[in-house]
Symmetry: C2
Subunit: 356 residues, 2 copies
């Protein structure tokens, strides 16, 4: 596994996206956030997505140029039509638009319809949390059907991810969860590796719990992913999914009713400014002490201290800056193939001397 510096990986990704005609601002944001995602350790959603995005731009699925349409805007909340521009760029634009609004009103939100795929919500929430704001991001793809409602057997909605970010003493707290136990990328990884899940996190087409990822991709009729809580208390995961569907599709006015076939995503983004509530100091004092009390909680396993979400990402980012980011053979080969095709130079590998 060769490793590469963050700066060179970003430049490489920018060159790939520019080579398929992506606007410079969009290429820069998507490249920066995908490499950040890899640096955070979420390899399924970083540059591993680039070959899929490049292929979809060629097929006309991902739009690489233009700007979003404003459907409605009252100065605090708004609806955007993203017309399948890159999801990372759209949501980042929304966050940058919402921050000055939150500084006036305490809260501000944008519902985006018809975005292309988003990627790692935690990397986006970090864009607000690093600047002292709370971010809530809820995302669903009305074209995807992978999870059944609680008690049902027919896949109807997406895993429906949801992220929360807020400032912390050393680094932000970054929660990134979804309404199903496991994700689409994880299922595909298991299937490619010929592995079973450790637990029965899937359902076959009859609704029987199973560890076999083949029920999702190779069976007819297809199975589905179990909701958080599974058969015991899956109404909790279902409730979370309903919230995410309502915020991202109900409020944006576009969703499963329109039966879109194009790979995409609808997103609800909200930014909150603690300064306009009880003050940034009050927020930090409460939440930093709470995080510290979590970290010092006596662990079940003495070898595994309690971590606050975002702790591991911060350590990974520091390591990536010091030692670069490496990719597995499958991911790197796919990127090399696209680089050859698009006549983009590969980044120079990080020499042992360069790696601090």
């Amino acid at each position: 596994m060769t490793t590469h510096s963050i700066a060179r990986l970003e430049a490489f990704a920018v060159a790939l996206y520019r080579a398929v005609g992506m606007d410079a601002d969009k290429a820069a944001t998507v490249a920066r956030l995908q490499v950040l995602t890899d640096a955070m350790g979420r390899r399924t959603h970083g540059l591993a997505m680039a070959p899929l995005y490049l292929a979809d731009s060629r097929k006309g699925g991902l739009r690489v140029s233009g700007s979003q349409a404003i459907v409605s805007d009252n100065g605090v909340s708004a609806v955007w039509d993203g017309d399948y521009l890159p999801g990372l760029w759209l949501v980042n634009e929304a966050i940058q638009t919402l921050i000055p609004r939150a500084e006036k009103s305490g809260i501000a939100a944008i519902a985006i319809r018809k975005s292309h795929h988003i990627g790692c919500l935690a990397a986006l929430a970090k864009q607000a949390a690093d600047r002292g704001f709370v971010a809530l991001i809820a995302n669903s793809d009305p074209a995807g059907q992978r999870v059944a409602p609680y008690g049902g057997t027919e896949a109807l909605f997406t895993p429906d991810p949801f992220a929360v970010g807020y400032p912390g003493a050393e680094h932000p707290v970054l929660v990134d969860i979804c309404a199903s136990i496991t994700t689409t990328s994880m299922t595909r990884q298991k299937l490619a590796a010929g592995e079973q899940f450790e637990h029965a996190w899937l359902l076959d087409a009859q609704g029987r719990p199973t560890r076999d990822p083949a029920v999702l991709e190779h069976s007819t009729p297809r199975g589905s992913r179990q909701l958080i809580g599974g058969s015991e208390y899956g109404h909790k995961g279902f409730g979370l999914a309903l919230m995410i569907e309502a915020l991202s599709q109900g409020l944006s006015g576009h969703g499963r009713k329109d039966a879109p076939q194009r790979w995409g995503g609808n997103t609800f983004v909200q930014v909150i400014d603690p300064k306009l509530f009880a003050g940034a100091d009050a927020f930090d004092e409460q939440m930093d002490q709470f995080s510290d009390r979590c970290r010092s909680n006596r662990p079940v396993d003495p070898a595994r201290p309690v971590r606050v979400p975002g702790d591991q990402a911060a350590r990974s980012i520091a390591l990536a800056h010091a030692e670069g980011v490496g990719y597995d053979a499958a991911t790197w080969t796919a990127l090399e193939t696209w680089a050859r095709d698009l006549k983009v130079a590969l980044p120079t590998a990080l020499s042992p001397k360069e790696a601090r």
Copy 2:
């Protein structure tokens, strides 16, 4: 089990609260929402709470008169100090305050600190959803320690309930979940009945999963409640808890750092007006079709069709209006004891003729 009409139960509860000096507006709201909670079928959080509230008002824990202090207010978002006034009244006041704000800005939110106990969040979310609004309510009690962080053994935070309500064709969708698998009331019920939980939803003080509710009330050191996801993926429940703690304590500027000893609750309440996003019709069309597709999803068990959260509550309410609400012996005896003590007349039982 004798049953009583909703109107008589409300009048009875108002009389009990008035007898301990509660302001008329607060008594009316608390009584109405507690009886609604019972009618919805959430018996642990309806009039069963009244004896606890009456006792706490005598001890000076629940404040029965006065009004909240405005800590900050910018016209869209605000912070209130509830000074331990009844939680149902405070949150209902917040919803009534937020609705006209959401009609202007699309979204509006209030963080309430130092409320007394709230009760059923779904009954509150219904107050906004019945009028066409989306409600998000997150609640925690900084004086309670019942759930440990993921991977930890020491109870640090509360089950942290969270509700979402939004309008539906026949009745609103009402999601009411919490970050732990089971709740405080459910644990006490099991303990009182001498029963074990069906699944290992608790942890003993060493962090070992257990079905025995005694680990929470009768053990030293005490155990804790498992987070949603348990040992397999409890980071999801932990993430939800962090969001709820940040919204309800971080934004209100009061929390575990202040180590309050008084029974209470901090609440973040947000109201969203779909009319100010893509429109009420667009919201309804998307979400009603989605609800219908959930209900018609082929069930795992043919005898148990898929239900959307709120369906069962709507059926229960209709039944309660037709046939009245009955209480178990323990709940009714406790209410009778307080009625005698406070010289409040018991409601007349519903005669078979009255029940339609």
